[in-house]
């Protein structure tokens, strides 16, 4: 009984660590796509022009939004795998 509880809680801790690691990675991309490409480095990127768009401006008005959508679905999918692996899936 004792060992089962401690196994449970160490499994929960490992699951949480995986989750936080994934979160940090995805939030880094979130930051780079919006604050990085759209604000801090916008002038540098604006020197590159692709498909009629200055790249920095494109990130600020369209690219970042597309990246945001992808990030959420990637998170949902990755969490599904992680939860199956740790046996804590709700599906």
């Amino acid at each position: 009984m004792q060992s089962e509880t401690s196994r449970d809680s160490s499994r929960a801790e490992a699951y949480w660590r995986e989750n936080v690691k994934l979160l940090c990675g995805l939030l880094a991309i979130w930051f780079v796509a919006s604050f990085g490409a759209g604000i801090i480095f916008v002038d540098v990127l604006n020197r590159i022009e692709i498909g009629g768009f200055k790249l920095g401006f494109w990130f600020a008005q369209q690219g970042s939004i597309i990246v945001f959508v992808i990030l959420i679905f990637v998170y949902a999918a990755r969490m599904r795998t992680i939860e199956k692996r740790f046996g804590v899936s709700d599906e």
């Binding site: 449970d8 995805l26 604050f35 970042s64 945001f68 959508v69 990030l71 959420i72 949902a76 599906e91």
Partner: protein, 587 residues
């Protein structure tokens, strides 16, 4: 059939649809009233969230703001969408797992304190009322422009419809009406955008049209716009006017504010499972992104079109839409050099808002009595007309104009209803049931919720009809308040077990107080403060101050928690439970 009759029919049909849905889905229990019983499909919830989220401001004003602010308007595009990443990754799944009805529920239990719950209720009510007055106003504006009804009557009709389906149906009614409202508003937004994109560039996809070449020319839309604006004395469309620090602060305040807005968060209490909450946030952002990636195209096309159709054109030959918007006072022309030709350029054409007087000028224009300024610009235009005038500019048929009107009303009503619901829930559930009258029966609680919704609608309607000057200006500032108060408290509640009751309460109060006083100091007429960059703290405008308020909240909460009694063991166990998608007891 003329556009006005069509507008009556379209708006009337959409109202009938919303009321029909409300009758079909009325709420029988508090769980249905507060969170639609927790049975909403993630895709339906995504649509409802999108409609809840996209207000009259998104639908009517945003493309106009982009048209006239260019790159600087990116703060709204990134801020109002990037917040969903924070919501999906950091808040929604855990709040869903927590599994109660409201945001103050979470804060009250996590910080084991009635005081924390009441502070959260106060934050929620301040944020939501700031926001809702603008929505009722939006309904009034659409009614008055398209149906030539006084704004007051527009607000009253809007109140009546919202009253019917929010009070009767609660969250369940609101959810399914919002799904219908999303469909109406997105269709109404996309149809004219696609037509205009084809007209301007030959590309039917507005998002791509923005980067395409202008039809029949070898220069892209954005480059042509940059060139045209620089020639007229503006800065280039794609370059910044605001400082980088201010742009970053506003963007972050809008993002954290979005994630902390109670009426958005509560939508994720309505899905069946934790995994559904994550996916549902993704769907919500897809539905939102459809409009938000179209808006920059609509804005750029509109600005270019506007310059092409008015600059250096004799007034007598100006297109009809210029004259029809002039007739209701949203465009004004003052022929400063008396050549009968419209000159457009940077700067305001005259001092203050256009003050029309009786009579016509030599060219048939409406006369204004304002003092002219000494720049070359002769025309003033209300940026809100861009989305509404688009169908006329592109010479689209009357049914498209009617559709846009119905879409604008849908956007305003859906947001107003979502806000009313969280206000009434905060009163009936958090104040009454959980704080002052715990012995109340479920039936009486449901009655109280409906009563509170009724009172909230009446107050919102009153604010819509008599907007106290500066409240209308601060609608967008509701985000700063949410970012500085609720967002950090919820985030730390999930991710930092060491934050205790004292820390959270001190953090929320200082974040809210700091942000609110900064905004009032610069935005209200009472202090005579000069609202420009040289007077701002660290160069951050009142729009972006929520970011600093949020940092203050974090710092105070962490500091105070360190020197006060640690979080109790039972609460730590509750946090462990919230972090897992399934509870231990069930495995």
């Amino acid at each position: 059939m003329d556009a006005q009759l069509l507008t009556f029919i379209f708006v009337g049909l959409s109202f009938a649809l919303y009321i029909g849905i409300a009758i079909w889905s009325r709420a029988g229990s508090t769980a249905e009233f507060y969170v639609a019983g927790g049975h909403v499909h993630p895709i339906a919830n995504g649509m409802a969230t999108a409609a809840d989220w996209m207000s009259a401001a998104s639908f009517i004003s945003m493309a106009g703001i982009i048209a006239f602010a260019g790159y600087d308007a990116s703060v709204y595009l990134m801020g109002w969408t990037g917040g969903y990443v924070l919501l999906a990754l950091l808040l929604a799944p855990y709040l869903r797992k927590f599994g109660q009805f409201t945001v103050p529920d979470f804060i009250g239990e996590r910080y084991y304190s009635r005081a924390a719950r009441i502070v959260a209720v106060v934050c929620l009510i301040v944020v939501s009322f700031t926001y809702i007055a603008g929505q009722m106003r939006g309904v009034g504006v659409v009614f008055s422009r398209f149906l030539e009804m006084p704004i007051e009557w527009g607000v009253i009709v809007g109140m009546g419809v919202v009253f019917f389906y929010a009070v009767l149906g609660g969250m369940k009614g609101i959810t399914y009406t919002q799904v219908a409202q999303y469909c109406v508003l997105i269709f109404a937004y996309m149809v004219p955008a696609i037509f205009i994109s084809i007209l301007m560039t030959g590309n039917p996809i507005p998002q791509l049209g923005l980067g395409s070449n202008v039809a029949g020319e070898t220069i892209s839309v954005l480059n042509k716009l940059d060139g045209a604006l620089v020639d007229l004395g503006f800065s280039a469309y794609t370059s910044a006017v605001k400082s980088k620090i201010d742009i970053a602060a506003i963007t972050l305040a809008l993002m954290a504010g979005t994630a902390g807005l109670p009426h958005v968060i509560v939508r994720f209490f309505t899905v069946p499972k934790v995994s559904d909450a994550r996916r549902s946030a993704g769907y919500a952002l897809v539905f939102i992104a459809l409009l938000y990636t179209t808006a920059p195209a609509v804005g750029a096309f509109a600005r270019l079109n506007f310059i092409d159709s008015v600059h250096e054109k004799p007034y007598a030959e100006a297109p009809q839409w210029v004259k029809s918007w002039e007739s209701i006072g949203l465009i004004a022309w003052l022929d400063k050099n008396e050549d009968g030709v419209i000159q457009y350029g940077s700067g305001t054409p005259f001092e203050g808002r256009a003050d029309f007087v009786d009579g016509q000028g030599q060219n048939g224009e409406r006369l204004v009595s304002n003092t002219p300024t000494d720049n070359a610009n002769e025309i003033s235009v209300d940026r809100d007309i861009m989305v509404l005038a688009n169908p006329e500019i592109a010479q689209l048929p009357g049914w498209v104009i009617a559709l846009v009107a119905a879409g604008g009303v849908a956007a305003a009503l859906s947001t107003a209803a979502g806000l009313l619901l969280v206000i009434s829930t905060a009163i009936s559930h958090d104040l009454l049931k959980k704080t002052f009258r715990p012995q109340i029966t479920e039936k009486a609680e449901l009655m109280a919720a409906r009563g509170a919704a009724t009172v909230a609608i009446i107050i919102a309607g009153y604010l819509g009809i008599n907007p106290p000057g500066f409240v209308a200006q601060v609608v967008a500032l509701a985000f700063g308040l949410a970012a500085a108060s609720l967002f950090p408290a919820i985030l730390m509640g999930i991710f930092f077990k060491s934050i205790n009751r004292e820390g959270a309460v001190a953090g929320m109060i200082s974040g809210l107080a700091f942000t609110l006083s900064y905004i009032i100091y610069f935005k209200s007429p009472w202090f005579g403060a000069v609202n420009d960059a040289s007077h701002w703290f660290l160069g951050v405008s009142p729009e972006g101050i929520g970011t600093l308020g949020m940092v203050l909240n974090f710092v105070i909460a962490i500091g105070v928690s360190r020197f006060t009694a640690p979080t109790p063991v039972a609460v730590r166990a509750m946090i462990d439970d919230i972090r897992m998608p399934v509870s231990k007891t069930s495995t």
